[in-house]
Amino acid sequence: MAHTESSEKKTTATLTIDGRQVTVPVGATILEAAAELGIKIPTLCWLKKVSTTGACRICVVAVEGIDRLMTACNTPVKDGITVTTTSPEIIAARQKTLELLLVNHPLDCPVCDAAGECDLQDIIYAHEVDRNRYAADLERLPIRYDWKLLESDPNRCVLCEKCVKVCREVVGREAIEIVDRGDRTIIDTVSGEPLDCDFCGNCINVCPTGTLISKPFKFKGRPWTFNVTPSVCTFCSSGCQIDYHSANGRVERVTSGDDTYNRGILCINGRFGYAAFNSPERITSPLVAGEKAGWDKALATVAGTLKEIVAANGGNAVAGIGSPRVTNEESYLFQKFLRGAVGTNSIDSEARLGFLPSQIIQYEMLGYSGGTRDMNAIEKATAVVVIGADLKGESPGYAYKMIQASTKNNAKVVMAFPRLSSTAKYANAYLQYKPGSEAWLVAGLNKALIEAGAGAAGSDTLKSSLDALSFEKITQATGIPEAKIREAAALACAGGSTAVIYGSGIIRSADMKNAVTGCVNLALLTGATGENGVGIYPLDEKNNTQGMLDMGVCPEYLPGYHAYGHVSEFGDAWNCAVPAAPGKDLFGIIDGIEKGEIKALYVMGSDPLQFMPDRGRVLNALKKLDLLVVQDLFPSETAKLAHVFLPAATAAEKSGSFTAVDNRVQCFSRAVAPAGEAKNDAEILQKLFSLVAPVAPIAVQGSEELHHEITRLTKLYTETCDHAGCRMGRIKNRAAAPAACRPLLPSEPAPSGKPFTLVCAPIQRHNGSYTTWSASNNLVAPGRYLEINPSDAQNVGVSQGDQVTLSTDTGSKTLPVRISSAVAPGTLFVPSNFGDGVLSGAGSLAKA
């Protein structure tokens, strides 16, 4: 029927609103069309980031020819319609509806948390509703005081559903629902039991009234009395933009606006983790030999001892362990101090345990380290592959993006992790592989893709390497049947726009090299790194691991990944002699201490006793040091051994920039002054530089000056910041290299001889060990546990809450039992957040 071809579907609609014409895309709502004209239609329940609701009925407008008012927020436009947004009839309808909203609404504004920032107040005021023609019997509903971190007063609720929708559509938790009927309809948990959820508090952020409120914030002050400072979250690697609300030098609340990169969505750490800043356990005075000391004495002790050691043994007798938590500028200054002033390249960090070597592989294969596109691109993926990560545990921002892709872009989702994660329900294929078999699993996916016809540069050599691996063997290693691997591989290519996300399971895999290579191959084979692809994203649990490495906090590279051949450029710029040979890495440093070659260790924002695999060995080494300097916020295990403790500042107490794992560089300014006598790391380091530098002391630089120096020397960034105080700061330069698959040769799985295999990974209610200093996080995730499958629990003879002793090659721990079918039989799960991350590999259990 040829004549139908001329009737192409129109993609735009032109309509008239209040006498003015506007053309908008088909599918736009009347509300959006009006906004194009600058006409503001009042709304209460509308929220851009979730599906439309149409609950409040405030946005009613008249459409000519339609014999009722239509709600602007959820009525799509139609070509040729005429809309009126204001008329006496419309205003009367809005006013009456608002009067109904106020029937029995408690006017307890004096003690309501929302007072002063209440959308209901604002809209009632704007509509001049000062009396009520309606009345009904008063029936007060019970207030949920028994929830943790949140409180719900259903009497204040206007049933806008924003909280329910954010929880379901954005967070993917579905913890709260609309329950009951009629005027008793409230927001509650479906079971009626106290809230047991992610505790991300996004519901609080979207609540237009004082129904859902933050308990830690309650009675901390009226909203308008706080200083609000835009900043960047200091916890995970998603790089969310936040606002610190502070008064009297304390952060009392964290919120996030709808216009931020993350659209106002945070996780428990972003929302409640600030309690760590205010922790009574925080140390805010310098300590020398465990005793309070002034800054002058502390710095003089550090500088003096360092100089003595360097004079006697050379710079190589000093090493440093940097921090994935501090700003780029501080990381830069840390390595500058050690390289330039002390004269050592023995600088490393916990990234040695996986992230750095994994990124070297990714860099060699793709010419990029970190995420190859920015995180929000994932929303537009048609296939999302998540390997070796519980997204909400590692970097919740990525979980939210995966959920958007799945629910709002019909993306197919493939997940692979030994433990069933809370986002498993989105997976079209969930591969619950045996821990340790990561390289085999990705090899299986690579093989299935190639056999299904996928190809990329280098896939021929990859194919020959995979020909040697049979699916029988892959299944034996991973526990995943061949058909399931093939199905997952097919889903991984669905729609042609794939995103590949890989986490600690891959990055800290026993066979990391093949696991990471296989993930990059997967990205190449699915086209994730190609033109229509959505990119490949490594995850890290901490906020600035990527930035720390960019700044050269590692022994093999100078800042900007410059090789030691460029050492003179840095030496000249710093007016120092920087040693030209690569330094020792983390393991080399411990070795060096044991051998007596290294006599001083400078640890900044890091707790090696918590993250190093062999705690006993590290403990003995640290005790051997002539000088252990720890610069931190809290009395960590390592800090307790320090000869000198230098109290540092939190992210709220300083300015600088963080680089998220997807390479977004975001600047932020200081919200509050450092607590007590604490100083920010940059200031401490610059002062020490002046005290130690053998040649030419440098003056304390301003941050702008420092930015320019970093940019000039590293050549990582575009020269200028977009504008002062912005959070989308400098853009990282990127050089794409010709990318090619590499062969895979997964190592033979070695029989452990032990009954259990261990998974140790971060959980959703904490971030690293940082938030274990936060009373709010601890309230809902108080501590360590060991998760075990019900059948294993029965075999071992333990029940919920019993203490068990887990013995591995690297030590043993006694932990309380949690029984859960989230782990497969034969697998144990232990959260890595509580200092148990040292456990790995295989183990055995005994009732304690």
């Binding site: 599906s51 439309t52 609701t53 149409g54 609950a55 409040c56 009925r57 405030i58 009613v60 459409v63 339609i66 014999d67 009722r68 008012l69 239509m70 709600t71 959820n74 009525t75 799509p76 436009v77 139609k78 319609i81 309808a93 009456k96 509806t97 109904l100 909203l101 029937v103 023609r133 309606y134 009345a135 009904a136 019997d137 206007v158 049933l159 559903e161 929708k165 379901r168 559509e169 579905e174 609309i178 009951d180 009927r181 009629g182 005027d183 008793r184 309809t185 629910t407 709002k408 872009n409 019909n410 329900k425 989105y426 997976a427 079209n428 294929a429 969930y430």
Partner: protein, 674 residues
């Protein structure tokens, strides 16, 4: 009796309260007695009030109606509905308590107007009868207000039912607005749970249901119906595509067991709902394992209903506590009396699998190439057995089975597949999309032809069908024109295979004559029913011509019947609805020793009889969101030999969500006074 005292139903006012002489005539599709015995005194609903008994206390009924709407059904999800019905409910209670002022009655009209802005129609439509009551019975309200003792009327008992045009029209009475809204809210699991409350074969009815609900969709009065069926498929496919475990947990086992004849839609549905209640069910199925599903399996080809998904639905039903004994034909491998002895109750759902004869010359001669019937052909093809089909196939009939046969014939390798039907294309009982599908696949049609004789060669091999062309005759006494043969138009359609597909009826030979189970002249099982009569004394029947309210128990105690064998050959959705009711009645029988319908069951049937959808209703709404239709595989290759891949592809989740957003959520509440 049944004289209408007063009515505003359908917005027509009939007022016989003070009529001198002949009262105004008014009739509604309602029985004189609610359950055949208790007089129906008044009816209140979305379209007004109907009063048969002048002693009914209208203010009390109004207050009760609004109280039930507010406290039982108002979803609270829009301001006018949540708060407006609360204000109204309390206002009417204040009237009854003598605490109201006359001016309060003005609020009723004011809110009736404001509640037009409600999100859906429940609260809004609830203002219609209460507004009518205040407008026309103001003095009764004032009597309460001024004297605080009311107008001295008789107390009544009230029975209510929530409904919607679509859920009323759906024979399984699925809560369609609820699951559509759940899809709109991305709650696929909840949507599927809602569907399963009344439909345990969601992947089936999400694909092959003739969706009568969509003919009663109020959105049709704006533009086009909501694509209700494909949304059901969406919910069902979501669970499957995300490897989610169905959440149903059966109640603890109650000891008694139920034996069921036939693993078709009715047998499976009854088993599912009884098993959930804790009654272990055993289904006896004549076909071998892997071929469960009754007419769905043998009658609906795999390109419409993928087998692995049908089997998934059956597996899920079995998982709640249902055994299926395959290869067991009741009447042959086990007798019905044995079955009755073995179980505490028996449910007969054997279906309608016997092909009807065509009535043409030669059909009973055993010719080679003349197949026994469409359903037999489909079954043999599905089971991978020889069908006896040649290369050039003629199928006679105009229903869905006939269409399935011509389409399957292509997939079985027929070079030519021809459909012969005695009326025109638009008169075919087959679903339009099925006919179009056959057309696209290259089926040839001969409309308005009547086969008269099977033509064979010397070896009794079919070589063609002799047909005569039909034309519309002169109108008969009733004014209706019937097709008549055109003299001299005889011609032969060449073919080597003829498949008659003109209908099926139940094969009830397995029921021994001495069990006291009655069988109708249409060869269906007789079940007990309520003696509903209209004002003229005529028995009320449903749209199939069966008595309106049936308990589905046969004249033999403990033996119940349902599905095609009780209704007459119909649809999956009708069989499921009928079997679900049977399951409830069986449960009552097992627990209380009585097989009866609840008042809610009865009101459900009465509403269906009354009609909930009004195609003439003006629905003010902006028609700015078009109906979405699912994508399908096009081209003749889809019907290539051996290609049974699914033709229709369902919705993407986001298309489903947008389609669901078109729903007007047309809930409404009916309440009767008895």
């Amino acid at each position: 009796m049944a004289q209408v005292v007063f009515s505003t139903w359908g917005r027509n006012i009939v007022d016989n309260r003070n009529a001198a002489g002949e009262p105004a005539a008014a009739s509604f599709k309602l029985p004189v007695a609610f359950d055949g015995e208790q007089p129906l005194k008044a009816f209140m609903g979305w379209d007004g009030i109907i009063l048969f008994d002048k002693y009914v206390d209208i203010p009390a009924m109004t207050a009760e109606y609004m109280r039930r709407v507010q406290t039982l059904y108002c979803c609270g999800r829009c301001t006018p509905g949540k708060k407006g019905t609360k204000v109204l409910s309390d206002l009417f209670q204040n009237v009854l308590d003598g605490k109201a002022k006359e001016s309060d009655l003005d609020t009723v009209g004011d809110l009736a107007e404001l509640l037009k802005n409600c999100k859906c129609t429940l609260c809004q439509s609830a203002t219609v009868p209460v507004f009518d009551a205040v407008a026309h019975y103001r003095s009764d309200f004032l009597a309460y207000i001024t004297s605080s003792c009311g107008p001295n009327r008789e107390p009544s008992r009230f029975i209510h039912k929530i409904t919607a045009p679509c859920m009323d029209r759906c024979p399984s009475h699925i809560d369609i607005p609820k699951y559509v809204e759940e899809i709109k809210n991305y709650q696929y699991g909840e949507a599927l749970a809602t569907i399963r409350d009344n439909m345990p074969l969601p992947s089936v009815c999400g694909r092959v249901c003739p969706h009568p609900c969509e003919t009663a969709c109020r959105r049709k009065n704006v533009d086009d119906a909501i694509n209700i069926m494909v949304l059901k498929r969406t919910a069902s496919d979501y669970e499957w595509m995300h490897n989610l475990q169905p959440p149903m947990q059966p109640k603890p086992k109650k000891g008694k067991t139920v034996g069921i004849v036939g693993a078709g839609p009715a047998g499976l549905a009854a088993a599912y709902y009884l098993a959930l209640e804790g009654y272990h069910c055993t289904i006896y199925e004549a076909l071998p394992e892997g071929f469960g599903g009754g007419m769905i399996a043998v009658g609906i080809p795999a390109y419409r209903m993928p087998r692995h998904l049908l089997q998934r639905d059956i597996d899920i039903i079995q998982a709640v506590g249902v055994d299926i004994v395959y290869n067991c034909r009741v009447g042959k491998d086990i007798s019905l009396p044995e079955l009755k002895q073995k179980h505490d109750a028996v449910f007969l759902a054997p279906g309608a699998h016997r092909s009807k004869p065509m009535g043409v010359e030669g059909e009973d001669k055993g010719y080679k190439g003349f197949l026994s019937g469409g359903i037999d052909f489909l079954r043999e093809a599905y089971m991978g057995r020889p069908t006896g089909m040649g290369k050039k196939v003629c199928v006679v009939g105009g229903g869905n089975t006939a269409i399935d046969c011509v389409r399957v014939a292509l997939r079985e390798g027929a070079e030519e597949s021809i459909l012969l039907y005695r009326r025109s294309r638009k008169e075919m009982p087959a679903d339009v999309w099925e006919v179009d599908g056959a057309d696209e696949e290259g089926v040839k049609f001969e409309f308005q032809v009547l086969p008269t004789k099977i033509v064979v060669d010397a070896n009794d091999q079919v070589t063609g069908v002799e047909c005569v062309r039909m034309a519309m005759g002169e109108p008969d006494a009733s004014g209706r024109r019937r097709p008549e043969p055109v003299p001299g138009s005889e011609f032969i359609v060449e073919c080597d295979t003829v498949i008659p597909a003109i209908g099926q009826d139940p094969d009830l030979k397995f029921i021994p004559a001495d069990m006291g189970i009655d069988i109708t002249k249409w060869n269906t099982v007789v079940t007990k029913y309520l003696p509903h009569k209209d004002a003229a004394g005529k028995q009320l029947n449903d749209s199939m011509g069966n008595p309106l309210c049936r308990t589905l128990i046969t004249d033999c105690d403990g033996v119940f019947a349902g599905g095609d064998a009780e209704i007459g050959p119909l649809t999956v959705v009708a069989c499921v609805g009928n079997a679900h009711r049977a399951a409830r009645v069986i449960q009552r029988w097992l627990e209380e020793g009585k097989a009866y319908l609840t008042e809610e069951d009865i009101l459900e049937d009465l509403l269906t009889y009354l009609g909930v959808y009004d195609k003439n209703e003006k629905v003010p709404w902006l028609d700015s969101a078009d109906r979405s239709n699912q994508k399908e595989v096009h081209g003749r290759e889809r019907a290539a030999k051996g290609n049974y891949n699914e033709v229709e592809l369902g919705f993407s989740d986001t298309t489903a969500q947008a389609e669901a957003d078109r729903c007007l959520r047309c809930y409404r509440m009916a309440m009767v006074a008895v």
